[in-house]
Amino acid sequence: MGLFDLALTNLVSPPILFFALGLVAALIRSDLAVPEAVAKSLSIFLIMAIGFKGGVEMASASLSDAAMAIGAGILISFALPFISFGLLRATSRTGRVDAAAIAAHYGSISIVTFIAASDAGNAMGLAAAGFMVAVAAAMEAPAIFSGLILAGKQEGQSDRELFREVAVNGSIVLLVGAFLIGWATGETGREVVEPLFYDVFRGVLCIFLLDMGLVAGRGLVRQAGALQWPVILHGLYMPVIGASLGLFIAWIIGLAPGTGALLMTLSASASYIAVPAAMRLALPKAKPAVALTLSLGVTFPFNLVFGIPIYFAIARAVLG
């Protein structure tokens, strides 16, 4: 199956089409909305399931590979903000603190993008190693600290408190916890949750992506004016830069295609949950709307629709 077919298969899959439906509904200002409490719970379910599945697959994984991939992920998450910051400052009139905040978003990851990519990978028969879940968890936080370095010392800011709040962030704790539970219970545990965590999973992903489309679209509608072109472009070329760095590292440490494609996706994705909240605490002067709209309204759709199939195609060609 060539790149074009891959892209097409990805485009006409229900999850992507429901995301598009959400986008369209928001742009035509429909009042369609998944209640917040349920949207949050769907993401909890998806994180639980993806974490658990990753853990189950650890039975057939090498711990040294896992350790190496986790190390690589931390490195990427820490490094990307410096690239993002440099490019933003060079190409746009974004202030230092705002640029640092945006940069932190691009170093960190989007767990939903990761889930969609794993799902697409399985559909293409390019399953990834279970430890990529641990890599995803490990890549959430480091970028935040790069962001703080780039912003420079802020008065009245307590880093100790911040570290704690980020480390025990709900999605990290759940992802790691579910991963360990899947690892501990293996196939026996898998049988218990198979119908919900495996069979129903993709249908739930459709509903969740419908909501993501609605939220991303509403963000775009609300902020349309606020984003200057150099910043919008940043949201489009940063994933490409991230994916390239991810590919390079995957090639160095010798990851398999499916696994490498996920590392590319993680590097290409930008945070819109953990980092925005952390930035409000660490860099209150940074305008939250810009970074969030860029990450959720520009980069997320780009990765979901175009990025993922391309990353898999390239990973297969280069790492296959």
């Binding site: 909305a33 998944v34 209640p35 917040e36 949207a39 949050k40 993401s43 009245g156 909501d211 993501m212 609605l214 939220v215 509403r218 609300r222 902020q223 606020a226 819109y272 949950i273 925005p276 909240a277 952390a278 930035m279 409000r280 605490l281 209150p284 002067k285 305008k287 939250p288 709307a289 969030l292």
Partner: protein
């Protein structure tokens, strides 16, 4: 029923800072406070809405505390120091309460 005048401090604050705010109020030994959800709004930092949001970073909560005039000045200083650098507003109004010693 005979009542006494107290102050009602009302704070609209962005979610990520709520816990810091309540910790500060606890430290200030307030007699109590209540936190209520908000679903949408608009301010200098633009408009927001909870519709389908999964992140709490861009939402507001409304906290109110009934307290004694004597305590107000100090509380207002500390609260304002925190809120002014964040997204949110602070207002104060008069209220009557029945059992004065409680607040």
């Amino acid at each position: 029923m005979e009542t006494t005048t107290k102050k009602r401090l009302e704070i609209v604050i962005e979610a990520p800072v709520l816990e810091r705010l309540t910790r500060k109020l606890d430290a200030l030994k307030l007699s109590g406070y209540t936190v209520m959800p908000a679903v949408s709004g608009r301010g200098r930092n633009g408009s927001w809405s909870r519709k389908g949001e999964i992140s709490d970073s861009q939402r507001m909560f409304v906290l109110f505390a009934v307290l004694d005039e004597a305590a107000l000045a100090k509380v207002l200083d500390e609260v304002y120091a925190l809120v002014s650098s964040q997204i949110g507003i602070v207002t104060v109004s008069d209220v009557e309460v029945v059992r004065a010693e409680r607040f």
